[in-house]
Homo-oligomer: 316 residues x 3
């Protein structure tokens, strides 16, 4: 296995099966520290630099919490508007990186532009972790999700994963690439205008990801082991919160998961959602035994601990 020390985490394309397994194993080992049951200074004197050009709560804070739990430090910005990097004459990624690389030992970057973290990695003398790049990928989220499936169901192998939502989104891309390394099936459900791009499906074919496309949650729910969700509509920011009628449902029923829908699901199936949610996943599902999105949120810290210790070389 290639060493993780000093490595960029930009994409799950090309990630190998034993690399997933290695991260899951480290995650299991650091887990007690995530809840504060054990203490650790494994990352003492290490600094993570956050470069968030787009607002984020979960991705940023999960990484920050991971560093703090392990005795490390955090520098950076959580909104480009607070920096001169947000100026009109926005500086090049190259110039920005030849500053950030001196402020710490690893950079976590979220960017509205696809490929920006890859460009950063080209220039940086320290590892770059992709915290979500435009329509590109979101590798740390999907590592979290696959780890959650492994913990909750024993393995990703043998599972049918019903992925509902906008399939042009970055988590869907990382998921599709990752599943090429598992004996699992990806069942794609999306509105027509949010279908996976042909180029993406061609990539999955080439990598050997096993997928099929369905049209309605009812057609696929019975076979699903994992229901993996993203919003299917983009919020309409022109409406104020008070303008939304109370019975306004934005998500068409074909893509919505309700308690009623879950009655048709396998008894052992689980629901994942990286959150925040709109009305594609109703709160009534929280009370069913299928809900695992809080565990997923918690695992977000655990997996980032595993990743950060790995790229910072603290396990070797």
């Amino acid at each position: 296995m290639r060493s993780f020390a000093g490595r960029d985490i930009l994409s799950l394309k090309g990630f190998e099966r034993n690399e997933f397994m290695h991260l899951f194993e480290i995650a299991d080992r650091v887990e007690p520290i995530a809840r504060g049951r054990q203490t650790s200074d494994l990352l003492a004197h290490k600094i993570m630099v956050t470069a968030f050009y787009q607002p984020s709560t979960r991705t940023r804070l999960a990484h920050e919490s991971a560093m703090n739990r392990l005795g490390g430090r955090v520098n950076g910005f959580s909104d480009a508007k607070m920096t001169r990097a947000g100026d009109f004459y926005q500086e090049s990624i190259k110039d920005t990186v030849h500053m950030l690389e001196f402020y710490g030992d690893v950079i976590v970057m979220r960017h509205f532009q696809q490929g920006a973290p890859h460009e950063a990695a080209k220039w940086a003398s320290i590892p770059v972790i992709n915290g979500g790049d435009g329509w590109g990928e979101h590798p740390t989220q999907v590592l979290t999700d696959l780890y959650t499936i492994t913990k909750e169901m024993g393995s990703v192998d043998g599972k049918s994963i019903l992925a509902i939502g906008d399939h042009r989104m970055r988590t869907m891309h990382s998921l599709g690439y990752a599943l090429s390394q598992f004996d699992a099936e990806m069942v794609i459900l999306a509105p027509e205008d949010m279908s996976p791009l042909p180029e993406f499906l061609a990539e999955l074919d080439e990598m050997g990801t096993n997928y099929r496309i369905v049209d309605h949650v009812n057609d696929a729910i019975e076979d699903a082991d994992v229901i993996y969700m993203e919003p299917v509509v983009q919020p309409d920011y022109t409406l104020s919160r008070d303008d939304v009628p109370e019975d306004y449902s934005m998500t068409p029923p074909e893509y919505q998961v309700t308690a009623e829908v879950m009655k048709k699901a396998k008894s052992s199936s689980i629901v994942l959602h990286s959150l925040p949610r709109m009305d594609e996943l109703l709160e009534e599902v929280d009370h069913t035994r299928h809900a695992r999105y809080w565990e997923e949120a918690y695992n977000g810290v655990v997996m980032r601990m595993a990743l950060l210790t790995s790229v910072l070389g603290s396990w070797e």
Copy 2:
């Protein structure tokens, strides 16, 4: 006394006298650490999560400084606009809490909506501290203020506390509830449209808080031991700083504390203000022996150290 370990600090309603005394005592013990005269790692490996949905300087930084002085860590957000929680389809407190609770060991929440921290505490597996909730309460500020009175004057008992300002505000509520546990008098002075709500006064009656209402600072200043101040007018944000005429006074003289007014005050009386101030408290009062608001600001760190160590169970 009920243990503080693991407890939410949401309201001073129901706080008991010996609980106030306990916090004052711990505050005295940690005080040398607040100034850096002693060092401590009492909260090493503990993380405070800041969830500030409204801007704040003093409340947020006093808590952050308290954690840092005690060797703890801080994660979180200082403005909801920097998070996806600030999106139009704002997520529920429940969903937000089932993320934040995994990022640390205690949550400090400021929210524009009254009751939001209480809702958070319903879902969180870790303690929630109310850092100010809409028109609700501001318990950590009033604990700071009562501790300041105790340090400066020996005790809250026996004192007449002239509370000037908008009595619909959260500090006034916490103050009224807290004073039910002391042999003290609350003298209420507010413009008519900022009078205490009848429901609030009914609560004070029931709890046994000793209060009376006055109309002009001149009617009450002679008897006051403590002059406790809040602004009486809300800033007019439509005006730019340059548009304000220099002699523009926003605070009517009945509610204004000046050096002239303080000449009528008891020689031993003290003035408190949680700041920032407008023109209800003139800068000329800073030079009088009555001013104690800088000490109050300092005690803001000390009291948060006492609170955080208590709810995090570091004293037991």
Copy 3:
């Protein structure tokens, strides 16, 4: 030499030669810690308070990284809009300082108003470092720059420093004052409306700074040992990024440094720029042996480590 412990760093006016040398020496000693090659807890239990009333990336993060590398902590705000200090009835510097001084051991302030950090220092019981004040000064940047010259060229003495850009800007002021303590020449190149103010030149005369004024980069490049750059045009924020024609050059050629211009320069000359840049310094120069602005960026952390340990008294 006056002790640095407890001292404010507001201006380079009055800074003495041996004080520069002392800081350069400490910088050399802490340098291995900046890259993480050595670890240190020299500033354990020390807190730096950031008071940034204007956005900044480099100045803020270099200071934060310096604290973190040395085991210290950081509190504060990176944008006044996120604080109640940004309210219309903006509180006085005095009131703000009588809060911030209780949150840490040293304050770093950037302010849009010239003299604001000096006003802060008048009230603060802890040292204040000027992180850039309006058109005033930027002492920590120029200390970084002179340290970079010393490291790269052996000494500031004997050098001709061609300073190109808006000479009403704060770095130019700090540079002019600092050079009075070195056997060096300041060669001033600026568009007419960005010429140094007569009062400033009078100050340089009085201090004995050796300067002359030139009109075109071509007239001065052959003699320059150091090319020291700032933008010469203010960005036009009314244009969106997409509205700018691709061949749009904002910087007139008299003030622009290109690979072509650098061909006429001394073989040993170096180019410094505190960044971010616009088109006054073309990216093609990055590939020449003259470019030293990345080293300058790195030294930004090293010099702040030297400064912070010095004013916090950790070397005595």
